[in-house]
């Protein structure tokens, strides 16, 4: 009974936690520009993220190490410096993009420019982390995150051509804009396979004191939770393909994306879009902000934990405070939130091998995982997808920038 409850909670968490500014922006862009043609990329990214989230939970449960602890210990400080810096930079940009997402949602509803919202939003995020506990943040994010299911409902209301949607699971090349096609594919993968998820998840497993007994729960949460989360992502893509693609609207700004739900739901659709964007990004910003403090504190061996009072882990609390307010300054400065989002997702795809390949080495180390170490299947799946993403990224990003 307790187990069932835990799995349910875990799944709720991932639904709330999975959808963030990157997933929404890239899915809307994919649907608007290439109709259903990029669905296969969402599927591929989901498979990879399921494997990786399961691994980070398994690592924490079996070895009692967070991913960061294990990486520094196994590879040494000098080697670890590279993924550490890469992760902090990417996390910082993603955090700014998530804050931007919340600000845009507020701008959509109030008409007040997103730049004015950046500091109040940063303050609200900080206050929640400062005062809240891990479980409040986890459960709050999940509960409110369910509003994003509006996209899935919209798909069913709009009766898409299911045959065509299904065909999207098979990779095909578009007749036009191939560079852009690969660029969006890279951004989708970067958005789905976000490294912060693994660090965050393994830290959560340590905070919840997981042991080998929790491996079953871990598998369930990873597979069903991440799978369900990407279901919502697909919902966003399909709705966008049904509403924006036929009109020839491609996405240059979030304001254009805001129209996707007005067709099935009218005024409520507009509100639901703003609420989904705002809540998903707020939840993700909490997670990314916390994640940065986790990564720094664990890399340097400080005491850390969201369940502790700030006075018990002052360095940890000050770290997320600085990161959150610094990231919000990018929005105050008026950086375009959508550009920042897509850029940070593409950048994530580039740094993935740096972060993931050492992680895989760890997952095959008997000293950490004993008999629970990786099998051939999970190794192969992850390596293939990560290497493919990297190759796509280094080819597509320069081409996209040069406009080739």
């Amino acid at each position: 009974m307790k187990k069932a409850l835990e799995i349910t909670l875990g799944i709720l968490t991932s639904v709330g936690g999975f959808l963030d500014v990157g997933a929404i922006a890239t899915a809307v862009e994919a649907g608007a520009s290439f109709k259903f043609q990029l669905i296969w990329v969402v599927a591929l990214g989901t498979i990879c993220v399921i494997f990786l989230v399961e691994m980070s939970g398994r690592l924490a449960a079996v070895s009692r190490h967070t991913l960061v602890d294990a990486l520094r210990e196994r590879f040494g400080a000098n080697f670890y410096l590279v993924p550490f810096v890469a992760e902090l930079i990417v996390d910082f940009l993603v955090l700014a993009a998530e804050i931007g997402g919340v600000c845009i949602a507020l701008q959509l509803v109030t008409g007040i420019s997103f730049r004015w919202w950046a500091l109040p939003v940063a303050f609200a995020l900080w206050l929640l982390l400062w005062k809240g506990t891990f479980s409040i943040i986890e459960k709050g994010t999940s509960f409110f995150g369910l509003v994003t299911l509006a996209f899935v409902v919209a798909v069913f209301v709009m009766h898409p051509p299911w045959r065509e949607v299904a065909a999207g699971f098979v990779p095909t090349l578009p007749g036009h804009g191939r560079t852009h096609y690969w660029f969006v594919a890279v951004a989708i993968l970067g958005a789905l396979i976000s490294p912060y998820l693994f660090y965050f998840y393994s830290s959560g497993a340590i905070e919840d004191k997981w042991t080998e007994k929790d491996l079953g729960v871990n598998r369930g949460v990873a597979a069903v939770g991440m799978g369900f989360g990407s279901f919502v992502s697909l919902g966003v893509l399909v709705v966008s393909a049904l509403v924006l693609f036929p009109r020839g609207i491609t996405i240059d700004r979030y304001e254009q994306a805001a129209l996707v739900l007005t067709e099935p739901f009218g005024y409520w659709g507009f509100i639901l879009f703003a609420a989904s964007l705002g809540i998903a990004c707020f939840g993700a910003a909490l997670e990314v902000g916390l994640d940065q403090a986790y990564v720094v504190a664990q890399a340097l061996g400080w005491n850390w934990g969201e369940n502790q009072h700030p006075s018990e882990d002052a360095r940890f609390s000050i770290t997320y405070t600085i990161f959150i307010f610094a990231a919000s300054l990018l929005m105050v400065a008026g950086l375009d939130p959508l550009t920042l989002t897509i850029f940070s997702m593409a950048l994530t795809a580039v740094v993935l091998p740096l972060v993931i390949l050492p992680f895989l080495v760890l997952m095959n180390d008997e000293k950490y995982l004993g008999r629970h170490r990786n099998g051939v299947v999970s190794n192969t799946v992850v390596i293939v997808i990560i290497v493919m993403t990297f190759v796509m990224a280094v080819v597509a990003i320069p081409l996209q920038i040069l406009g080739g």
Binding site: E29, S33, L108, V109, T110, G111, H176, H180, F183, R247, G248, I249, T250, I251, D252, R253, E255, Q256, A258, L259, T262, G266, Y267, G269, F270, D336, L338, T339, I342, Q400, I401, L402, G403, G404
Partner: protein, 131 residues
């Protein structure tokens, strides 16, 4: 899309014009969709005004970008007509915005019809194929 704005250094004038054409079409369609949603009461006023303003400004910027393309031969024809269409779309969107701001729903309905016509005229420049 976004990064395309940085483009233009390595592409042929024709490709560049096609990319601009897509942006123009996209923003014209956005403006019309926002206007229609406003008529149906599906979007708030401030959002409508802001998005229409963004569309108008983008179209004006596009007109300038198109003007700067160094087209040769057959592309000159495309450049001239695209520039023409873009400028007139910008004006049309401006009128739509004025109608929203003065809450003139009747005029807005007519203006949106007009906008639809202009939008299709631009789309036809792409030569039938989707941009």
């Amino acid at each position: 899309m976004l990064v395309l704005a940085l483009a233009g250094c390595t592409r042929s004038p024709e490709d560049q014009l096609k990319a601009e054409l897509q942006t123009v079409t996209s923003w014209a369609a956005t403006a019309r969709m926002v206007g229609e949603a406003w008529l149906k009461g599906a979007v708030p006023r401030a959002y409508t005004a802001q998005t229409l303003l963004a569309a108008e400004e983008t179209l004006q910027e596009e007109a300038q970008t198109i003007q700067k393309v160094k087209a040769e031969g057959a592309a000159i024809g495309l450049q001239t007509s695209l520039l023409d269409r873009t400028q007139s779309l910008g004006r049309a969107v401006g009128q739509v915005r004025a109608a929203v701001e003065s809450k003139d729903d009747q005029a807005l309905g007519q203006l949106l019809e007009q906008l639809k016509g202009e939008e299709q005229a631009v789309k036809s420049l792409a030569g039938g194929a989707r941009p």
